[in-house]
């Protein structure tokens, strides 16, 4: 483990910073490739869900973590992708074309949301996306000829060019390929001028603008890419769950997605996947310890909400950088070992800077 002291621009934008990265990510890839033979059917399904939510998380991370625009209605894009996939594969489209078409549709919807959202900032944007999420959820439940309404819609297996992903393992590999491609695309985007423009907008809109960044264009682009990734995740989700109903894409799901990126760690690609692991793993962990708790607590219906809320509150209070931030701190501790001092990462500000004048 090492921190690099970068001395030139090329070093800053390199995909793998040093040999250690190549080694560890290579090992991770090998493990992921071998996973169907190492894991039970159930765990493999969970891993597939982690990859799917990871892709959605990448999209939201790009928007929230890197461009600084928060969307409290991301489940809408997720749903658009899922229903587009369900409808298009229903017409017999091969999987890759349906996926891309769904992503394009999501991106188009993202632009439609992003354009009016340019006029508003901060919490207004949150409320605008929240409203949009509500409207789309209502459309999903009312537009029965396409979405099947509240009765739901079934989705078939992944089919492309005469090949059908009929086993859990084969669908897992489809998800793995999509997730790896999406991650690489995001990493490459972030080291391109576009990605750097996103980060500049997050850090200070005014400075970004004065550096010649077209705010409207890049914000819309960010919405579009984010929505496209959410749509791709939704398409995979449709195949994994095989049955879509509007309540899978409501406000609760949107908040879950936000919770995922916040807990994973805003502003890091790792965070999207760590958050997905957390989001999928927490219900399992709760149901695992449920039986050891006293009857009154363990069997109570609200337990999951309490744990979710408490974890979220705890993370915002004590670890605003999320799981990935915690990992960085542990790493810094190990690296600086004898010289680590307490309060190295303590937050300093105790006043709210006025956001109204931003």
């Amino acid at each position: 483990m090492r921190f690099l002291f970068k001395t030139d621009y090329g070093q800053d934008i390199r995909l793998a910073k040093h040999g250690g990265h190549v080694f560890w990510y290579g090992l991770l890839c090998l493990w992921l490739l071998a996973a169907p033979w190492l894991l039970s059917e159930y765990l493999l399904a969970q891993l597939t869900f982690i990859l799917i939510y990871g892709v959605v998380g990448l999209g939201l991370m790009l928007l929230a973590g890197f461009t600084g625009l928060f969307s409290i209605g991301h489940a809408a894009f997720f749903g658009v992708g899922a229903y587009a996939q369900a409808v298009l594969t229903g017409y017999g489209w091969p999987f890759p074309f349906a996926l891309l078409a769904g992503a394009a549709l999501s991106a188009a919807v993202g632009v439609v949301v992003g354009l009016p959202a340019l006029r508003v900032k901060g919490i207004y944007l949150g409320i605008a996306t929240l409203s949009f999420g509500f409207i789309v959820a209502e459309v999903f439940s009312r537009w029965e000829s396409v979405t099947g309404g509240n009765a739901g819609k079934t989705v078939g297996a992944v089919k492309m060019f005469g090949w059908t992903a009929d086993s859990a393992a084969s669908f897992y590999f489809v998800c793995l390929v999509v997730a790896v491609l999406a991650t690489l695309a995001c990493l490459n985007l972030l080291r391109s001028p576009t990605g750097r423009a996103f980060v500049a907008i997050r850090d200070s809109e005014i400075s970004a603008q004065s550096m010649g960044i077209h705010l409207a264009r890049y914000k819309t682009l960010s919405f579009a890419i984010s929505a496209a990734l959410a749509g791709i995740g939704g398409a995979l989700y449709a195949h994994q769950i095989r049955f879509l109903s509007p309540d899978q894409f409501d406000i609760v799901q949107s908040i879950d997605l936000l919770l995922m990126v916040v807990i994973g760690g805003l502003g890091s690609i790792h965070g999207a996947f760590l958050g997905a692991i957390f989001l999928i793993g927490l219900p399992q962990a709760i149901s695992a310890v449920k039986d050891y708790l006293p009857q009154a607590i363990g069997q109570a219906p609200g337990l999951k909400a309490v744990v979710y809320g408490a974890v979220l509150v705890g993370f915002v209070l004590f670890e605003p950088l999320g799981l990935y931030g915690r990992w960085l701190k542990v790493r810094a501790y190990l690296q600086l070992f004898p010289f680590y001092r307490k309060g190295l990462f303590r937050r300093q500000k105790s006043f709210q800077k006025s956001e109204r004048l931003r």
Partner: protein, 291 residues
């Protein structure tokens, strides 16, 4: 006649939205943060009132007072324990924090054995009474909502206009740091703002309870108060009430004149149109930045 009836229903419902939105605006004005837990505070207030009436057997007025005072105290404690440590962080952290608080509140109430999963009726003295006025059927519950909202508005207006605390709050809301330099105890005022918002939420909960029911998920109505706050202009107290009325009216009329399904999305359509046409809302403050 039908139309007038719908308007009255809409106004009564709008008052509830307005009261919850008032809570958002109070917190927003004082601390520049948005509390997503306002609906849950309302739910807690309703449960508080229910407990005071049924468990302690207090008379109606005393339990209302107890609920409001208890929730105000709860708000102050909540601010001191949870909100204050992250002051100075981006506004979004507080949004996530209050979402988390909302989850915890809802979950904890649901976990109460035998109480949390049931729906309860609040035994108010004016339950199910109806006035007939020239062909109009006026439910007393709705009249009480409208009257109580009006009284509360006048009270809040007086506090912010004439009392020292209220003026200090306005000062702190414009620039926390500058207010602090002028000797205004900003932290204490933040706590007070949360207390006030929680108290208002408790009133909203107690007023809503006779119309619907007391239930752990009744806080979701708080999500409809966001459109109210935005339509009125997020930082404006009268705007919150007016926005609430607009949303209530739109919802009530859309429920009758438009096809099924539009009732639930009408407030959100209104808010999107509003953000598009007038991002500052009807009563929004217009601030200019000098570079």
């Amino acid at each position: 006649m039908q139309f007038l009836q719908l308007v009255i229903t809409g106004v009564a419902q709008g008052c509830i939205y307005g009261l919850i939105a008032l809570g958002f605006v109070l917190v927003y004005k004082a601390t520049e943060t948005v509390s997503f837990a306002q609906g849950e505070l309302m739910m807690l207030g309703a449960f508080f009132g229910l407990a005071a009436m049924t468990l302690l057997g207090l008379p109606f007025w005393l339990s209302v007072l107890a609920a409001v005072a208890g929730m105000a105290l709860f708000g102050i404690v909540l601010e001191a324990l949870v909100i204050r440590p992250i002051l100075g962080q981006p506004a979004f952290s507080i949004v996530m924090l209050t979402i988390g608080i909302g989850y915890v509140a809802r979950g904890l109430v649901t976990m109460l054995p035998g109480i949390g999963t049931e729906t309860h009726t609040l035994p108010v003295p004016y339950k199910d009474q109806v006035w007939n006025a020239g062909g109009l059927v006026l439910a007393v519950e709705q009249m009480v909502v409208i009257a109580a909202t009006a009284v509360l508005c006048v009270l809040l207006f007086a506090v912010f206009r004439y009392s020292k605390v209220g003026i200090a709050m306005q000062a702190a809301s414009q620039n926390q740091l500058a207010a602090y330099y002028m000797g205004i105890p900003v932290k204490r005022l933040n706590g007070l703002a949360w207390g006030l918002a929680s108290g208002v939420a408790a009133v909203a909960g107690l007023l809503l309870a006779p119309i619907t029911f007391v239930h752990a998920n009744m806080g979701f109505i708080g999500l409809k108060a966001f459109p109210a706050a935005v339509v009125g202009g997020f930082g404006s107290l009268p705007g919150a009430i007016v926005g609430g009325l607009v949303i209530g009216l739109v919802e009530s009329l859309a429920g009758f004149y438009l096809p099924e399904g539009f009732k639930d999305v009408a407030p959100y359509v209104v808010v999107l149109v509003m953000l598009w046409v007038m991002p500052n809302g009807l009563f929004g403050e217009k601030l200019r930045k000098k570079v």
